[in-house]
Subunit: 593 residues, 2 copies
């Protein structure tokens, strides 16, 4: 039995609460046809991560990558419609069939589109599962089911952004894949899907949903101040007006970026697997399992580090041209004091030697419908660097991590994009390759402004690690009427940060489009350059001409880091299709009062 | 006797060729009054660097700083006028006195201003040295001599950019200080000086120049391709059209940035002093002297590193608003394979322990008129970092260093501004403070665009270490008529680089002001990020509309490094009074042919 399974057995599977996760996979869904495909894929996943082989066979790796990516690419919508589905299933059972309008008529009919896939179409025939399953290739046509709908998506295959990866769902249900990514549950996509509808699932093959449960049933309670950009998975930021009030962002206001449901972990049985997958690391021991007590017994190290989402300030980039991703404001960042064991200590204790070719793969307990965990990786050099300050954190601002921030253990990789700071850490592997996860391979990368979804090749850009220099104006907010002081000043406050431990050395503010720049006063820790992982708060008093009272003024902020890198001026020339690395000048228009 | 003196005894003093330097100081000048002040200051310098005290008394340090900075601040002009001076001295002796026009008339009279200070003014009285020396305070008035001129600069003192530091020259000659910095030998400054003229030095106090020698007499021969931005000290860059032709810049074309005359060093007697000045380093031994053979006996380490002047591309910044500094094009950079001993190995052998508070001071054999060496420092953390790759280089592209590049030893600090890559290395010191040199403290720092010479406070900005991301178009050149290929393309080539070991991950080129960007093909080493110190050459084929033939097109280049830092768009918002860090988009206008 793989170590992953051992570790994971201590967790409750988000899709089957109360049941050991690896042994059940998609039984939790009781989607019979879904279970068929998934148990097969899950075997594949288990083989991939069985931990017996230092180098997993390449074909497995490729298959796994294809599969994971495929699932995620396909995985857009549903699961929160399960309650509605339940109700509607009952309706169907009671033969109170809702008359479904034709697709062409539907677009304008309010929220109805959310129920189409769970509604019988009397104008279309009924298919049995074994018939549907035959349509699993381009030769035989590609059919999928969603809810009780049957869809022939053969014509859509070449148009799918993930190209042939969609084929992994051919002949079966896409429900489990679409269960997670509710931000894509859009009228546009559901309307498109309904256009491909060819029928209904035969009543005897319909899903029994009574004991289905919800992967979202165990989400933690959140502070009402957090403003969600998506509810499921939960992603939320605080209003940025409060960000600059605290050098250490209070845990309850700290932005949350979850990619999957929050796992339920019992700290008493929690285990962290560490595996050295390659001989190149020259380690003395290649496997280790650490309990929470083991981790806490290691020397405790504290580091102040801002953690920032790769998509922070995406909404500003979107204003140039739309991008794919959550519409973050400038609040997808927080600064905290993190305490835990050094990853370096864990690896050195196993005898791991420095090697520029190696990576440390980090996996969380948050699982997607295929039971694949959230995953990311960092270079081994960062993990081993004493000045890298990578820790297995169990405390955030002197309190135990809360569930949204990775209880009981998250990796904190200071200076590195949030996505690599893996939460609910269950597995660490030293390997010759980066994480194969979607988030490492096909997300969180930058591209040229002229690269679009037709031309993008994710293998051509490196996964974001250290983040570029940025800053934001926290107060005043856009549109605020701002009182000019008697001596003719406006006070402006904000944050600035740069990745890679680069200290902020200056923040310049202008209220006259760069004719005059005013150097802000910084509040920051006195950490050395290269190891300055916390953010800097700043305050500037900008002189404004009293005669402009009542007029609009645009304030810009521009930060400079210790390598004298500076924010670019505008978003036009850094635009990228994923809307990451959105670090141009922050510009806020206010009214002088 | 200090170790420095021991080391320096093996060098020929640039101002007294053939004479052991420490024992003579300014005898080489035979400027009697200059020798008086300088021998005193030199004692102070010797005390400062006597190496007996781990912590030099603060007052000494301050005095030394004041003195060095003062000398340099004052040190603007002359020495290459010595030949002329010689001729004129003879004229004076022969009483062929040149009639000097009044200052007001002189401004328009060609190059005459260069001879004013070596010309008797018959309209003014004559002063004896002991009279001049009394005027050494604000109370008694501040007089200085330059050539045979006597000047009352009392009124100028408050206007002097270096404020009271000018007082170090009060009552004596400024010739030795102005001997080095010939780029400041401007009509503006000499005219200003002449306005303060009050007389002539008494004939019996005039300088005997016959055996004065020239600190520039031993400059090496340079390749005619190098285009000087200043002759003395020699600063020159190759035409950038040839830069992109070689991944390793040929040594003879490699830009030269000298701050002082090139020292003459005998490799047989060369010695490098290493001193651990602070107990915080916890070193086992605190002093060591290494011969060239000792250094070569250490494990040889090779690193490819681009070295770039902090002022590279300054001329582009100047086009926005003038700055102080040599007018570099984009050729003040080169890429080479450097080989030598690791600085880390030297320090570890002495038992030096990592400490975030400490610095490594690096000093060259190139001396200013006060016998102060060129100096710089880097953080100890960089020196000790295995991935920092700091070496004591004796080879450049597999050949021994040539004299312009630091023969026999220069420090190569990969990823760090050229100014810290100290040439002709004679002393290394681990200390609690940065180098006190002018170049570390009052130069090579960045400031806000609104900071000017009235408001600048050099203590407020950190010394440049790692450099920001940059790129330049090497071909075509501005104004070139460029042939459009049959299939409608223009080929563009250039270099890109970022400091701190950050790999270049993308270079974007546009020929339509950013409407479309084209990703260039990179030629670079496969070194890991954080340790990618070499530059990247790039080539892009840009489609151009055939109907624009005969028209002007502006090409822009923009590089992105592994932290996804990107060049700023324009110079307006990164302008700084020293014209350093000039890394905005490179823009070249060409004519389509």
């Amino acid at each position: 039995m793989s170590l992953l399974i051992k570790a994971a057995n201590n967790l409750r599977h988000p899709f089957a609460p109360g049941v050991k996760c690896m042994s059940v996979t998609f039984q939790g869904f009781h989607l019979k046809h879904a279970a068929q495909i998934n148990s097969c894929q899950h075997q594949q996943y288990k083989r991939q991560f069985s931990g017996k082989t230092a180098k997993p066979p390449k074909s497995n790796t490729t298959m796994y990558t294809l599969f994971t990516v495929g699932c995620i690419t396909m995985g857009y919508f549903v699961f929160d419609n399960m309650e509605k589905l339940k109700r509607q299933e009952k309706s169907i059972k009671n033969t109170e069939v809702i008359k479904t309008p034709k697709v062409e008529d539907k677009v304008t009919s309010g929220d109805d589109y959310k129920q189409w896939h769970s509604t019988q179409r009397q104008d279309l025939p009924t298919f049995k599962l074994d018939e549907i399953q035959k349509h699993n290739s381009l030769e035989n046509g590609v059919w999928v089911t969603y809810g009780i709908g049957v869809y022939d998506i053969t014509d859509f295959i070449p148009k799918h952004p993930g190209s042939d990866k969609i084929m992994l769902g051919a002949g079966s249900a896409i429900d489990p894949f679409w269960a997670i990514y509710q931000q894509h549950n859009t009228q546009e996509i559901l309307t498109m899907l309904e256009k491909y509808r060819i029928g209904n699932i035969s009543p005897e093959d319909e899903v029994a949903t009574d004991d289905m449960g919800s992967p979202w049933a165990h989400e933690p309670k959140r502070h009402p101040l957090l403003r969600p950009t998506s509810e499921r998975p939960f992603n939320a930021e605080p209003p940025i007006t409060i960000l600059a009030d605290n050098f250490y962002t209070p845990n309850e206001f700290f932005y949350v970026r979850n990619h999957l449901p929050v796992p339920v972990i019992d700290e008493k049985t929690y285990e962290l697997e560490v595996e050295i997958e390659t001989k190149k690391a020259a380690a003395k021991s290649t496997q280790k399992v650490l309990t929470l007590a083991d981790i806490k017994a290691l020397p405790k190290h504290t580091v102040t580090a801002a953690v920032m989402c790769g998509g922070n300030r995406r909404s500003e980039m979107t204003s140039v041209k739309s991008v794919k991703g959550l519409s973050w404001g400038a609040g997808a960042v927080g600064n905290a004091k993190w305490s835990g064991a050094r990853l370096r200590d864990v690896l050195l204790a196993m005898g791991v030697q420095a090697n520029e070719d190696l990576h440390v793969i980090l996996e969380g307990a948050d699982l997607d419908p295929t039971s694949s965990p959230y995953g990311a990786s960092i270079p081994l050099s960062k993990a081993l660097d004493e000045r890298g300050d990578v820790i297995l954190a169990y405390e955030m601002n002197d309190k135990p991590l809360n569930r949204d921030h990775g209880f009981p253990i998250r990796v904190v990789v200071p200076g590195t994009v949030g996505a690599r700071n893996v939460k609910w850490l269950t597995r660490i592997a030293v390997a010759e390759h980066e994480s194969n996860s979607h988030w490492q391979q096909n997300d969180y990368k930058g591209f040229s402004p002229s690269t679009d979804w037709d031309t993008v090749d994710f293998t051509k850009s490196p996964a974001i690690q250290a983040m570029p220099v940025t800053s934001a104006i926290c107060t005043p907010s856009a549109g605020d009427k701002v009182k000019v002081t008697k001596d003719g000043f406006v006070e402006v406050r904000g944050y600035a940060w740069s990745g890679g431990g680069r200290r902020i050395v200056r923040v310049d503010i202008t209220a006259d489009k760069g004719k005059s720049w005013h150097v802000a006063t910084l509040e920051q820790e006195n950490e050395p350059d290269g190891r300055h992982y916390g953010w800097s708060l700043w305050t500037a008093r900008i002189p404004v001409d009293a005669k402009h009272k009542g007029e609009e003024v645009e304030i810009w902020s521009k930060a400079v880091d210790s390598a004298y890198n500076v924010q670019p001026e505008s978003f036009e020339n850094i635009w990228n299709l994923r809307g990451v690395l959105s670090n141009a000048y922050h510009r806020v228009k206010i009214l002088l009062n």
